[in-house]
């Protein structure tokens, strides 16, 4: 038996033993998603049990080095773990910006002490991280951010405001872009700072969205003291780290439309047949049938492209600035998916609350409204097009 085959057997029996039965049910609601964090440590449910077991094994971050708490697995082994988890229907034990965004840049840019301090907590989901990037005056033009950190000898003093901070009201720590040199050109005076959201001087105010939910917050910093060893990379080199993190963020958002996060659990053709009727096994309305087919074809093309990029990366050609394409198309497609669902489900998908609608229909209304943010957050579609035009096609400024 090959090494990989025996690894698969070990992974199988470990998962079989360790994954609680309730964690093999499909994720249906937002509250089924586990984000970890300090508050979660108080809980004593299956979600936490599963997180604790998988985290100890390092398999929440299977390819991160074992010395930082990761699984230390090769890509092949990680793929096996993923396949075996999928086979038994195991839920992801942890969803976190620590895993998808911060961790990869810490591995690349942080010093040894920082890696040892922060990475194991990310792997085990002990800290819920949030992202301090956008400001009221710095959206697409992120590099014009004004939130500043002054050198006060033994610490930095942070003053300013962030906006669109996802789950800031629930997060424990923030990775934050701050201006450390107001005199330098705008891309050069930025640093990448980590600090505790429980620090004195941090105020958080959730923002109500058109969907009725408030996943984002305004975050205010007034004389927040941050120890100096919590800066990642060199002073003033934060923009390089910020951009790399955005590539990770874009890959994450680009892939979101196909997982959880909205839409009925049934397939789109089934939804179409239910709400538009069916004649001889076909969706009754030919125009809707064609729109469904168009969407499914595009979905197929996009997933082939995702797979191709993964294969190319494995063969030694990482996507680089092309990753903007996945952010762009993935989010635009998720918006299209919800628009299509709304058009198929008709007024049943436009209820706000109360009687007359199923839970699924009411959820679709909210998910549709939420999807409008997809092509704005993490860099608007227009910003992605700028990046592609400049960095991939070489069109001049």
């Amino acid at each position: 038996m090959s090494d990989l085959e025996s690894f698969r057997q070990r992974a199988q029996s470990w998962l079989e033993e360790s994954c609680p039965a309730s964690m093999r049910e499909p994720v249906q609601h937002q509250q089924d998603i586990e984000w970890g964090g300090r508050a979660a440590q108080e809980r004593n449910d299956d979600k936490m049990l599963w997180l604790e077991r998988l985290g100890k094994q390092g398999w929440t971050c299977p390819t991160w080095p074992a010395e930082y708490g990761g699984g230390g697995l090769s890509n092949e082994e990680a793929k096996i773990v993923q396949e075996e988890m999928r086979r038994i229907g195991a839920r992801p034990a942890l969803t976190s910006f620590g895993i998808s965004m911060l961790g990869p840049v810490l591995l690349e840019y942080a010093n040894e002490d920082q890696k040892k301090r922060f990475l194991p907590e990310i792997v085990q989901g002990k800290i819920w991280w949030c992202q301090g990037y956008s400001e009221p005056g710095a959206g697409s033009d992120l590099a014009s951010l004004q939130c500043r950190a002054e050198d006060k000898g033994d610490h930095y003093l942070v003053n300013g405001q962030k906006i669109w901070t996802s789950y800031a009201d629930k997060a424990d720590w923030i990775f934050c872009l701050v201006r450390t040199d107001p005199a330098a050109p705008k891309h050069d005076g930025i640093s990448f700072l980590l600090f505790d959201m429980a620090s004195p001087g941090v105020t958080i105010s959730p923002i109500a969205l058109i969907s009725g939910a408030s996943p984002f917050c305004q975050t205010f910093f007034e004389d927040v003291k941050v120890p100096k060893d919590q800066i990642v990379g060199k002073l003033g080199s934060g923009w390089t780290i910020a951009k790399r993190l955005l590539q990770h963020e874009r890959s994450m958002i680009g892939g979101m439309g196909f997982g959880i996060g909205g839409g009925p659990s049934r397939t789109i053709p089934d939804v179409a047949k239910e709400y538009c009727g069916e004649v001889d096994g076909r969706i009754a309305d030919p125009a809707s049938r064609q729109r469904v087919a168009q969407f499914q074809m595009d979905q197929r093309c996009f997933s082939a492209t995702t797979r191709r990029a993964a294969e190319e990366a494995k063969a030694g050609t990482p996507p680089g600035p092309k990753s903007s394409m996945f952010k762009l198309y993935g989010t635009e497609m998720n918006k299209r998916r919800h628009e299509l669902l709304i058009s198929l489900m008709g007024t049943q998908a436009l209820g706000w609350e109360g009687d007359g609608f199923s839970a699924e229909e009411l959820a679709e209304t909210r998910d549709w409204l939420r999807s409008f943010g997809n092509s704005i957050e993490g860099g608007t579609s227009e910003v992605q097009l700028n990046i592609l035009a400049k960095r991939v096609l070489g069109l001049p400024d």
């Binding site: 053709p269 197929r300 093309c301 797979r307 069109l395």
Partner: protein, 379 residues
């Protein structure tokens, strides 16, 4: 199924590109068109391509072929598409040759495929009857007679029909127009009495013709495969040809795009190159994304054929519809971005637009493939 090329496949593609750049750049299509060349192609060049193995890529070695797959053939198609190469790769090798390969008996295969692989015989598939692709809409009848079959009907848009040394005719031996059952394939000599071929000049300067059958009698040995079961061969061949054509379209639309991006980087207005304008940048970036998606699905469809994947038909429709839409978008945008020079005959980009529209309607427009995709998916 791998979605990256192997080293050997990359090498084949590179060789094809270099050969075509040297021997058959876009100016060759222009030359054939302007000279009103009666054959519409350079048979000497086809012979050279055959010597490189291109005509026999798919065929078994015993017939002089290379016994490779569609991923390999697809690379040649793509490179031909880049330079709008006017050669009978689709008509001879994949369409009519494919019918013999998939359904022919040993004698037919040995005779036909060997001659095709050597570059010595050209073939055509006489299939379509109306203005649109509709595989089973066959009204042409084949009636059994004591000395063979008598064929009556009219075939349109027969690619390379007027220069073919043999024509595969799809005719109905039973059933009604539209039925899948009752179709039969015949391998016909163009000199057959009652068979009339008229060349039709198309907008893209490529070869096509009308084939009229008026009491044309062919022998029983000319039947390919089983009488009345021709659709089993035809459908398989059409899926394969659809994907091969998609690969050609990928080459054509990629080249049109590359040319356009180069133009955006050189053409100056208002004291700067027009590629600095965001109105054009964003459209160029959108096209880039469309091409990336197109490339992935074409590669997946080519690999699916080689793996004899059960999703091959689904992927063929997906690839063709995507190529149709991408080549439409890029062809049209290219002309607009070139501005005035784009609508002159002198500039090559117009040749890409013309070819784009013909390929879109060859082997099924997007509406047809969307419908088939939905049917295959059970809705």
């Amino acid at each position: 199924m791998a979605l990256v090329l192997t080293e050997e496949q990359e090498l084949l593609k590179q060789t094809a590109r270099e050969f075509i750049q040297e021997k058959s750049p876009v100016s060759e299509l222009r030359r054939l068109r302007d000279a009103r060349d009666p054959t519409g192609l350079d048979r000497g060049l086809w012979k050279e391509m055959a010597e490189l193995g291109w005509a026999g890529v798919l065929y078994p070695e015993e017939y002089g072929g290379m016994d490779l797959g569609y991923v390999e053939l697809g690379q040649i198609f793509e490179e031909c598409g880049r330079a709008l190469v006017a050669q009978p790769l689709l008509s001879t090798v994949v369409l009519a040759g494919g019918c013999v390969l998939e359904g022919g008996n040993e004698t037919q295969k040995k005779d036909v495929l060997t001659a095709v692989a050597a570059g010595e015989r050209l073939l055509a598939l006489a299939h379509q009857e109306g203005a649109h692709h509709d595989p089973h809409a066959i009204a042409t009848r084949a009636e059994s007679k004591p000395d063979g079959y008598e064929l009556n009907g009219r075939k349109t848009f027969v690619l390379d029909g007027h220069i073919a040394d043999q024509i595969v005719v799809v005719a109905r031996t039973s059933g009604e127009n539209g039925d899948r059952d009752g179709l039969t394939l015949f391998l016909v000599d163009p000199d057959t009495a009652g068979l009339e071929i008229t060349r039709t000049l198309m907008v893209d300067g490529r070869n096509s013709s009308l084939v009229e059958l008026d009491r044309a009698v062919v022998s029983r040995t000319s039947v390919i495969g089983e009488v009345g079961r021709g659709a089993n061969i035809l459908d398989r061949v059409l899926d394969r040809a659809t994907v091969a054509l998609s690969a050609e379209m990928l080459g054509t639309l990629s080249e049109a795009f590359d040319k356009t991006v180069d133009y955006l980087k050189t053409r100056e207005q208002f004291g700067q190159v027009i590629g600095t304008f965001q109105a054009l940048k964003h459209r160029a970036a959108q096209m880039f994304v469309e091409i990336e998606l197109t490339r992935s699905i074409v590669l997946e469809a080519l690999s699916a054929i080689d793996a004899d994947d059960s999703d091959t038909s689904l992927l063929a429709s997906c690839a063709k519809a995507r190529c149709n839409d991408a080549i439409f978008m890029i062809g049209n945008e290219a002309i607009q971005m070139y501005g005035g020079i784009g609508v002159t005959d002198e500039e090559d980009i117009g040749l890409f637009l013309k070819r784009a529209r013909v390929t879109q309607l060859t082997l099924g427009n997007s509406a047809w493939h969307l419908g088939r995709f939905a049917t295959l998916q059970g809705y």
